[in-house]
Subunit: 161 residues, 2 copies
Amino acid sequence: IQRPVSGVTLDRNQARLAILKVPDRPGVAGEVFGALAERRISVDMIIQAFHEDRSVNDITFVVKREDLAPAKESLTAVAARLCAEGVLADEDVAKVSIVGAALMDQPGVAASMFSALGRAGINIKMISTSEIRISCAVSDSEAERAVRIVHDLFHLGETDS
Amino acid sequence: IQRPVSGVTLDRNQARLAILKVPDRPGVAGEVFGALAERRISVDMIIQAFHEDRSVNDITFVVKREDLAPAKESLTAVAARLCAEGVLADEDVAKVSIVGAALMDQPGVAASMFSALGRAGINIKMISTSEIRISCAVSDSEAERAVRIVHDLFHLGETDS
Ligand SMILES: C[C@@H](O)[C@H](N)C(=O)O
Ligand SMILES: C[C@@H](O)[C@H](N)C(=O)O
């Protein structure tokens, strides 16, 4: 049987930010990330979901923990310019990801990862997926335990990754 | 100069769903995607962002348009079990993605994609990124124009991808 999951990775020392209720009109996302790019701040895991109120939206992203202060400053200035509702910041973020070819084509892989973390009492703070990767943000204090649980769930110890 | 972006892809015939204000406690995401996996519904682009109210969260994902009805049914049943606020569905979704090695390491690439779509008056409905991919969901009616704009922005025509 081809194993759907070929490995698990852990990124620690991260932080997450969100800009809340920006106007949902063309060009706004460009303005938000243009301001961060001007300060040479690398961002990761940009997420904009499906907002109940179609006239506004929230945009969430992850940065290295050492970039949290300048990123928050930039974001707060953009939020004022856009009349957004505000900015959230959280420096307690670690990203646990599983990778594998055609991971998302198998309906049960994501569910089993989420459920295994749930059974262990680990709360998932954020989720982001692509065709070959499923990432969960968890509290940094639970990062190592989360990696072990996912590692065991998909029997990753048996191959030398 | 190494081109950061090696190609652009388009996925049409998609739909997006969201379950709103589920309790933000361990195991909930597993329950949502377990229900969908039981009905063998493949999901793509799962997104859970940073919610203002830390006791609840929304989860958004994309399915093939032909799976929208069964997915919505499953999601509505889970929403009732979890006392979620409700379910949103939108069948007007096309996913435009750029891919490239170490894409997100260059702070300006995401900003320039978002801004180019903004200048063309194309609204971005959802965003999801990984280290090597940036995806924007747009209205299906704007999909082809969005691909052309991104294609020209990153001079993709010059190489045979
Ligand atoms: C909302 C949901 O993701 C929950 N936090 C969980 O861990 O399953
Ligand atoms: C909210 C933001 O993404 C907006 N819809 C845009 O297109 O830029």
